[in-house]
Every structure is written in structure tokens, then in C-alpha cells.
């Protein structure tokens, strides 16, 4: 614990008094200072300073645990290590589902199904363990006002008709999902930092943040000086707090992200899993340059954020009503691609899975432009078509935003 006060580390009290005059009050201050300066501040010889460093280090260093102990702890612990997503082939490739204690990011173009996925996961988390759930409550941090309770109930009813046959069960389920609406970055960060108390008091087993990208991109224009650093810092702090919560309470955390185009040389037309579009200014202004540069879709929020999440699932449009979900980054799973559609009961996988080995050529990609808001208009679809001439499908009827929910339903 970095902020442990020196008084509690076992250092002699008069020394702590003396150090506090120089603004060294916790372990972090003590360890950030070089030994020579410490010598001057404490008035001790170098050898004594080394032993003091050891004392302070012992107080804030992590405990050692062997991997075997970790494994036996996991096996003996009744709570499961993976949260099944109820998409059978996806679960299989992920060794059981979303890994508890890690951050999973779901990213994709607007309207692809990320929020639907979140709804599905929320319902699943409230189910008892025998049915593949986590038997706990869910914290849903909504930054886009996309949460629709009606849709949630519809998913529950259609996916598990036997379980949710009575009103009683539905009411119980909806009571377990706590929705927080936050609309600025600062609010989101503050909410995340205060989640610990809620987790303990409400027995939370899943945290969903939908979406991380929308607030950040609204507030930080990376073309302005200094904003890049501020944005990275904010995201890193958020990621660190979320990781700490995930590990401390051993729960999965789902985050949603957006897509940005990255303009690159011609060879890079293929989808690059986990590729590294960094915090560069968004390139929509450039379009297709004369020497044939085309763009490819990558997750937004930059390189630093990509390092912070443990698992990354990317959704893309494939053809008219089917989409793909790609396992792009995972500590356990190889690349895999699954086709799914969105129906009444949430996401349904179609066809067989498709593990991408490194020798295969990739098949067909779409270039999706950034669609920051949910207010689709036909104009934007046309814009998309211009950039993907090999995708003839997007010309047919488009649904209008339905009144109760915020989604565009593609007929």
C-alpha cells in the first residue's frame, strides 16, 4: 500500500516526526527519494538508511504466493473463475467465458451490438450458478443513456422463458441491476473510485461500463496541445482502479469502446488484430488519398488503453444482418471469429467458429467510419458505403430509431 503512513511501518517515532517536517509522511514519499537525500534528511549513515529502506519496503511490499497456491485457491473457491457468456463456441475458445478478475473490452462500430451484449451479460449475471450465472448483482454505468429496461426484460424473457415465466422472477432480476448514469469523465472516474463500498454492500458480481470511449472522446480533443497526456492519465487511472476492483473482488468487468479509422499504406487494408493505432488525430478529414491509402478499423482510445485491458472482443458488420465477433486479444485464447445475429433473445451465434491461424488469408473487411452518436441518419450510411465499395448490402431499408430505446434496429 503506497499510502501507508510511515508511523505504522515500524520506524522509530522521532524519525517519523523529523521526516514529516520535510513532507515525507507515507511510504511513497520515502521510497521516491534517493538514499543520499534520505541520509541528509534522517541524519543517519548510509548503512542505517539501507536498513530503514528495508523496513519501509517490508511494510508496503506485496505478499508472495506461489502459483500452486493460487491454483488451489481457485479450485477450492466455490465461485467460478470464468463467467460463461452463453455463446457456446465463444466460451469454449475462452476456456470457459470471460475471465473473472480481468478487464474485458468489447469494441465495435456504432450499432453493432455492444450494448446488446452488455444487456445479455447483465441478465446472465443475475441467474443462479446452476444456470451458468454468477448469482449476484450488477453495476451498470451508463454514459450514453442507452440503457433500456424494456429491452433487458425482453432479452430475459426470450432467452430463458422457463426461468422467467412469472413477473416475480423478472422483478427480482431487475432489482439486482443497479444503473448509474454518468455523463462526464470526471463523474465516471469518481463513480469508479467509489464503487468499492457498493460492491461490498450489494454483493456485486459484475461491473459494466458502457461506454468508456464516448465521454472521453467528447471531452478530450486530441488535436489540442496537452489533451493527449491528460486523456492518457485519466484512462490509466480509471484502468488501474478497475483492475484493482476486479482483482480484489474477483469479478469480471466489461467495458465498451468505439472504433476509429486509421489511415495507412495500401498493404494494411486487412484487419489487424490488436494493431496499434495510437493517439493520432482522427483522420476522417483525409478520406482516401490519391495514392491509394485506405483505412482500417481499430479500437479507439489509443495504445496505452490497449495495454490496460486484458481481453479484447471486436465486433464488426459482416453482411446484412449478421455480424462478427473476433477475439482479438486474450491471455488464454487464440484468435477466433464467430458470426452472430441479434435477435429478441440477445446475441445468437451462427454457423461454426473460425479460428484464425496465422497462415490464413483474411476474408473481407469493412471500413467503418466513426459514428459518435446514436442518431443515425441515412447520410451516415451513405458515407460508409462510399468507403466500402465491396459491401453492397447497406443500401436496403434502415430502421428508424425506435421510441423506447436508443438503438437503430436494422431490418
Amino acid at each position: 500500500m503506497a499510502t501507508k503512513m510511515l508511523k505504522r511501518t515500524g520506524l522509530p517515532l522521532d524519525l517519523c516526526e523529523r521526516l514529516s517536517k520535510y513532507q515525507i509522511i507515507n511510504c511513497r514519499d520515502f521510497l521516491s527519494v534517493s538514499p543520499l537525500v534520505l541520509m541528509r534528511l534522517t541524519g543517519q549513515s548510509i548503512h542505517k538508511v539501507y536498513s530503514l529502506l528495508k523496513i519501509v519496503s517490508k511494510a508496503c511490499a506485496p505478499k508472495m504466493i506461489t502459483a500452486l497456491e493460487m491454483k488451489t485457491e481457485r479450485c477450492s473457491n466455490p465461485s467460478i473463475a470464468f463467467f460463461p457468456t452463453s455463446l457456446a463456441e465463444l466460451d469454449e475458445i475462452l476456456h470457459g467465458g470471460l475471465a473473472c478478475g480481468t478487464l474485458t473490452e468489447v469494441t465495435g462500430p456504432s450499432g453493432c451490438g455492444k450494448t446488446q451484449f452488455c444487456f445479455m451479460m447483465s441478465v446472465l449475471a443475475t441467474l443462479p450458478i446452476s444456470m451458468g450465472g454468477l448469482d449476484g448483482t450488477v453495476i451498470y454505468i451508463d454514459t450514453e443513456s442507452a440503457f433500456s429496461a424494456e429491452r433487458l426484460v425482453e432479452v430475459a424473457r426470450c432467452r430463458f422463458p422457463d426461468y422467467f415465466c412469472t413477473e416475480q422472477e423478472l422483478i427480482k432480476m431487475t432489482k439486482k441491476i443497479h444503473v448509474y448514469r454518468e455523463f462526464t469523465c470526471f463523474d465516471v472516474l469518481r463513480r469508479v473510485e467509489s464503487l468499492e463500498d457498493d460492491i461490498i454492500s450489494k454483493g456485486v458480481k459484475l461491473i459494466i461500463v458502457d461506454s468508456v470511449a464516448s465521454v472521453v472522446r467528447k471531452e478530450f480533443d486530441t488535436r489540442l496541445q496537452g489533451n493527449l497526456l491528460a486523456r492518457s492519465n485519466l484512462l490509466s487511472n480509471e484502468a488501474a482502479t478497475l483492475k484493482y476492483l476486479a482483482e480484489e473482488f474477483f469479478i469480471p468487468i466489461i467495458l465498451t469502446n468505439q472504433i476509429t479509422t486509421r489511415m495507412g499504406p495500401r498493404e494494411a487494408v486487412c484487419f489487424q488484430p490488436g494493431s496499434v493505432a495510437d493517439d493520432l488525430p482522427l483522420s476522417e478529414g483525409r478520406g482516401i488519398s490519391p495514392d491509394g491509402e485506405t483505412g482500417y478499423a481499430t479500437a479507439a482510445l489509443g495504445n496505452t488503453w490497449s495495454h490496460s485491458v486484458n481481453t479484447r472482443l471486436i465486433m464488426q458488420y459482416m453482411d446484412f444482418d449478421s455480424r462478427q465477433i473476433i477475439v482479438a486479444k486474450s491471455p488464454l485464447a487464440p484468435f477466433a471469429m464467430f458470426i452472430f445475429t441479434i435477435q429478441n433473445s440477445g446475441l445468437i451465434l451462427q454457423g461454426s467458429s473460425h479460428v484464425i491461424s496465422t497462415t490464413e488469408k483474411d476474408k473481407g473487411n469493412t471500413i467503418i467510419c466513426r459514428l459518435p452518436f446514436k442518431s443515425h441518419t441515412i447520410l451516415i450510411w451513405k458515407h460508409v458505403m462510399l468507403h466500402c465499395p465491396w459491401n453492397p448490402l447497406l443500401s436496403s431499408t434502415l430502421g428508424l430509431p425506435s421510441p423506447e430505446s436508443n438503438h437503430t434496429v436494422v431490418q
Partner: protein, 336 residues
């Protein structure tokens, strides 16, 4: 010895008193006895003794053991070093191409840095190395234990168990095909649970915990003499977001690097660090470079950069004192 007293690590108050009484160089002080020194300068006898011992570079008491794990003057001939290097071996990665460019595997008593974009396989490689360090000597491994310091939370035990299983299987195949007695013996002890029990895992949540752990690692290694590899995954993460003061970050990183090099040499361990990539904005285009700055590049002896090229993963040896620069493809399977 005409060495000035100011250059010794004396407490400042003592030093001021000594200089006030006219002692300016080491020669002046060492000529005097402890009790005489204490009377002249007006300090206690213990302090006088301490001063004399520091000046004369003698080991004393328990306090000195912290800093003097090895004699301050180490000299040996290049021939001795050659013999040492031959005998200590290196840690294989189970990917023959990678082993080749590294000159047999990850070298012991050196710092190796692995940089790469997210998702390219750095954590996988670290997990592989942590398991490979435990392969018994008769199979060509080091038969040692491993320390894994995790700052990102990507260490998932199930994956480690999978990699360990594959390694055990591999060794079984070798033992069965050969007739070596020693191999048959060793294979009985080499199992997934024995591998897991010899991986020491530390989870550091921020840079302060990492620094604290580095201070204590020396003692840990002295107690566990069998440790042959330390992996820090990743060293970039805690330093990249909590420290706004870049000069503080550079200083802390340099201190950390020095401690790790000292440990690597004293205890004969291989140190593997994982780094992240960041963009450097150039005039024409921007390129990906390893994070943590230019000066950090000097800390590692060997630098391996993992990157994508289309669908394939490549590993490039970027910096090495003994091997040529090369790029090879590799794949992540159940076993790397």
C-alpha cells in the same frame, strides 16, 4: 589515501563536526584511534568507531550486510568469465528460431527486455520462460525456480498450468525416446504441480510496491538460492500513468535498473522485463518505439521487439552485445 572526507557516506552532522575539527582527508582520520577521535571531535565512541570503519572500508555488524553482498573490488580474468558463461547456460523458449537469435535462449545474469504492442505475446513469452527455467538440467534446462512480478494482472493460472502441461509432456517424450537414467529420475519429479509450486508470484499494484519489492528481492534471492529467473511484467505499466514528474521517473527507473543488474550478477539470475510501445511523432510519419524513454534503453543488455507484420508475429533482436540483429517469425500455440 588523500581521499576527501566529503566523499564518504557519513552522516552529515558527523561530517560537519569532523571538518570543523580540521579532519579533511581520509588519511587524517585513519591515523587516529577511535577513543582519541571521539575526544577531539566531541562525538560518542560508537560514532567514532563507525566513522573509522567507513573510512577504512571494513565490514561491520549486521548493518553492512545490506549493502555489501559482494566485495567492492571484483576482478577476474576473461578466461574465468568465459568458463562462467559456458557453465551457467540459458533459458530456452521452446521456439527454436527465437532461441537461435538469442544465442541459445535468454541469458542468465543479464537483463533482457521484451517490447511489443498490446496483444502480441509478451505475457505469453514471459509465462513460457517462467516454466522453462524449471526444466531439469538433464533435459538441457536450468532446473531452477522462478519469480514472477505482475503489475498488469494478466497472469492467469489456468494458462500457466496449460503451458506447464505442455512442457512436462515434451520432457516425457524426450525421456521415453532416450535411455538416460538421470532423465527417467528427473521426470518423476517434474510435474505440473511441482512447476507451479516453484513459481513465486508477487502482484504489485503501483510503482511504490514495485520499488519496495525490488529492495526486498535481494534478501528473497539470498533465501531462495535456486531462483534462476525474475520476470517483471510489465515494468512500463506502473511508471507510465502515476508519475507526472518525468525526471523523478527517470531517476527511479535508473535506480531500479541498477538494483536489478546487481541482483542478476550476484545471484546468477536472468532478469526479463516486459515493456510497452508508444508512438514517437516524427516530421513525416510516426513510428512505434519502446516506452519509458531513451535513457531506459541503456538499462537492458538485450532487447527483443515483438511486432506484427500483417497476420504474422515477428521477433526482432534489437540490441545485443553478442548476437547479430535478426528477425524471425513465431507463433503462439499451447506451448510457444
Amino acid at each position: 589515501m588523500q581521499r576527501d572526507l566529503g566523499s564518504f557516506p557519513l552522516p552529515p552532522a558527523l561530517r560537519a563536526k569532523l571538518i570543523g575539527c580540521g579532519f579533511h582527508t581520509a588519511e587524517d582520520v585513519s591515523a587516529v584511534r577511535a577513543s582519541e577521535l571521539s575526544k577531539e571531535v566531541g562525538i560518542s565512541k560508537e560514532e567514532a568507531l563507525e566513522v573509522l570503519q567507513i573510512v577504512r572500508c571494513k565490514k561491520f555488524g549486521e548493518e553492512s550486510q545490506a549493502s555489501t553482498g559482494s566485495p567492492s573490488l571484483r576482478k577476474c580474468t576473461a578466461l574465468e568469465l568465459l568458463a562462467e558463461e559456458h557453465s551457467q547456460g540459458s533459458i530456452i523458449t521452446f521456439s527454436s528460431a527465437l532461441d537461435e537469435i538469442l544465442g541459445g535462449g535468454v541469458p542468465v545474469a543479464k537483463i533482457t527486455e521484451i517490447c511489443g504492442a498490446p496483444g502480441v505475446g509478451k505475457t505469453q513469452l514471459s509465462i513460457q520462460l517462467v516454466v522453462d527455467a524449471q526444466i531439469p538440467k538433464c533435459f538441457g534446462g536450468l532446473g531452477g525456480e522462478s519469480v514472477f512480478i505482475d503489475t498488469e494482472g494478466s497472469f492467469i493460472v489456468e494458462r500457466v498450468a496449460g503451458v506447464a502441461q505442455a512442457a512436462v509432456h515434451h520432457c516425457h517424450l524426450i525421456a521415453e525416446s532416450g535411455q538416460d537414467e538421470a532423465q527417467q529420475e528427473a521426470i518423476k519429479e517434474f510435474s505440473v504441480s511441482s512447476i507451479l509450486s516453484r513459481i513465486y508470484y508477487f502482484r504489485c499494484h503501483d510503482y511504490v510496491e514495485l520499488l519496495a519489492q525490488a529492495h526486498l528481492l535481494g534478501d528473497f534471492l539470498a533465501e531462495h538460492r535456486q531462483v534462476r529467473i525474475i520476470v517483471i511484467d510489465s515494468i512500463a505499466f506502473p511508471f507510465r500513468h502515476q508519475l507526472e514528474d518525468l525526471s523523478l521517473r527517470t531517476r527511479l527507473l535508473n535506480g531500479l535498473a541498477q538494483q536489478l543488474i546487481a541482483m542478476a550478477n550476484d545471484y546468477r539470475v536472468a532478469v526479463v522485463l516486459t515493456n510497452q510501445m508508444t508512438t514517437r511523432f516524427g516530421e513525416v510519419c510516426s513510428s512505434l518505439v519502446p516506452a519509458l524513454g531513451e535513457s531506459w534503453g541503456h538499462a537492458a543488455t538485450t532487447r527483443l521487439i515483438l511486432h506484427w507484420e500483417g497476420k504474422l508475429r515477428f521477433a526482432s533482436l534489437y540490441k545485443s552485445p553478442s548476437q547479430k540483429e535478426a528477425t524471425v517469425p513465431y507463433q503462439i500455440t499451447n506451448c510457444l
